[in-house]
């Protein structure tokens, strides 16, 4: 048994033993669970993938004369101004003004909020254009100026939902090609896409949320951020394997971090043909090896993780809840899965390569004593289910 304080003392003295979730299984197989639990202090987990529920709060400071922005655009991407005078919220799925979207399908969606966030972190100069109705205290009615992230007082990323614990494998059994947030899906289940770092993914290594909770310090694209709440659509009360691995989408995390500390290679705007824009982020979460059970759960392998195969040609858009079958991540990693005796070629939207890079970068920071753990202040709920949106008649 170890405590957070003991592990942090070992980190601070540069003596912490850190392995990645990619390395720990073989290590435990070699050393045995009991010996490894005594020896290993931390297992680093990570993920790198698109997460549409991402955005940031920015504060511009005040112009002379002052303005209370009532409408604003950064690089022609609309930002939300229903906040204090020069605070705005930029969402990663917002399209650039004038983007034809899917008017001539499939649209290209070349630039949007996710790309603005990438450009901000990369230090590029961007245009701010803002309008106002004018007030006695904020008389300026219009401003057009150019800025970089260094000019901002704050640039705080918020991900109301990230690190989805397991996710669908999307296929398309309809007669036409469809364009989805899970990529292009060709008809008659010609191909499929999945999106998880599998055995490296944070919540798949801590399936019962024993160490990851509200307050946990995380590595968010290079910044030291934290979990600020359970993620939106968090549903801990789902079906699980005997080892606790959820067999579908379940837990999620809400993350925040300072964009000024982020690294551009882990903050990437993405464009999905026929669907829209989003943001891909690199996230690393350390799991303190408090006891043997925590260690045992970090030894999850791709073959232990079952993902539901869902028809995005019908069942997903109609929200029927049907699952065609389950496949494991070892099968997905081969690039082919079997769905009702038919071979389906599959690709990944989540980058294992980048996730591995993050897991190693975080492990190195911990070994150097630069990243201390924070114990959760509130655990994530394990009994919640996803509620649907019900279409009701107006109340009498």
């Amino acid at each position: 048994m170890k405590t957070y304080e003991q592990i942090n003392d070992r980190i601070a003295s540069g003596k912490a033993v850190v392995l990645t979730a990619d390395e720990i299984m073989d290590y435990v197989d070699k050393k045995g669970l009991e010996a490894a639990a005594k020896e290993v202090d931390i297992v680093t987990t990570a993920t790198f993938g698109p997460m549409c529920s991402s955005g940031c709060f920015l504060n511009f400071g005040h112009s002379k004369p002052r303005i209370r922005m009532s409408e604003a655009w950064i690089a022609d991407v609309l930002v939300y101004t229903g906040l204090a005078a020069v605070d705005v919220y930029l969402g990663c799925t917002e399209l650039r003004h004038g983007d034809p979207a899917n008017m001539y399908p499939p649209g290209e969606f070349r630039y949007g909020g996710g790309h603005v966030i990438e450009d901000l972190v990369a230090g590029k100069t961007l245009q701010l254009f803002a309008l106002s109705y004018g007030t006695d205290c904020y008389p300026l009615r219009e401003i057009r100026t150019y800025f970089t992230i260094d000019d901002l007082n704050q640039a705080i990323m918020v991900n109301p939902r990230n690190c989805y614990q397991n996710y669908n494998v999307a296929i398309n059994r309809s007669d036409r090609t469809i364009y989805t947030y899970m990529g292009r899906l060709d008809p008659h289940q010609k191909n499929g896409n999945y999106c998880s770092a599998g055995q490296l993914s944070p919540l798949l290594n801590d399936p019962y949320y024993e160490t990851i909770g509200v307050g946990t310090r995380v590595w968010l694209a290079g910044a030291h951020g934290h979990v600020y709440a359970e993620g939106t659509q968090h549903a801990g009360g789902v079906g699980r394997t005997p080892d606790g691995v959820p067999t579908g989408g379940s837990g999620t995390l809400a993350l925040t971090g300072d964009m000024k500390q982020m690294r551009k290679e882990f903050v990437r705007g993405v464009s999905f043909s026929g669907y829209g824009v989003s943001l891909a982020l690199g996230i690393g979460i350390p799991i303190p090896i408090l006891n043997e059970e925590v260690l045992r759960r970090t030894c999850v392998r791709d073959r232990d993780i079952l993902a539901p195969v869902v028809d995005y040609g019908s069942d997903y858009p109609q929200n029927t809840g049907n699952v065609i079958c389950h496949v494991n991540y070892e099968q997905l990693r081969t690039g082919q899965i079997q769905v009702h005796d038919e071979t389906v070629e599959v690709g990944s939207l989540s980058s294992y390569y980048k996730a591995l890079e993050v897991a190693n970068l975080l492990a190195d920071e911990i070994r150097r004593g630069e990243f201390l753990l924070a114990a959760p202040i509130t655990p994530l709920r394990r009994d919640t289910k996803m509620k649907p949106l019900v279409k009701r008649e107006p109340p009498r």
């Binding site: 993938g49 690039g335 294992y352 390569y353």
Partner: protein, 140 residues
């Protein structure tokens, strides 16, 4: 076909279009090359691009290139009609099932790094529309 024949993927860039001249005909007829054209384009600015495989002896291919160069052509020997920007690529592997010849594939099962073998690329351009990160680009 002789044992000393080789196949090379080439890209020709014509700064000024030479559409009125049957260049490929001469490659076949005068230089005895087997030609497989992947992609050809004349831009509105009247530049010309041609990506092709040529099969023949080293000597015949060199002779053909010397002939083509008389048209003020730039020859790209690596056949990079389609390029992968290593900095933009996130190595997710989303592109792989959409690449018909398998020019994009996982090069290392442990790290799942994506590699692009341009000599296997048939220039279908599927990857360019597919890549969410804009990592694949066409020279024309």
């Amino acid at each position: 076909m002789n044992d000393d024949t080789v196949t090379k993927k080439l890209m020709f860039y014509f700064p000024r279009c030479e559409c009125d001249k049957p260049i490929v005909y001469h490659l076949v007829k005068d230089h005895h090359l087997i030609v497989n054209i992947y992609r050809a384009k004349v831009t509105p600015e009247e530049e010309g691009y041609l990506v092709l495989d040529v099969t023949g002896t080293e000597q015949a291919i060199q002779g053909a290139i010397d002939f083509v160069k008389t048209f003020n052509v730039t020859v790209n020997y690596s056949g990079k009609g389609v390029a992968l920007d290593e900095e933009r690529c996130s190595h997710c592997g989303y592109c792989i099932p959409y690449c018909p010849p398998g020019a994009l594939k996982i090069s290392d099962c442990a790290t799942r790094k994506v590699a692009y073998n341009e000599s296997e690329c048939i220039e279908c351009l599927a990857c360019i529309r597919i890549c969410p990160f804009g990592a694949c680009t066409s020279a024309f």
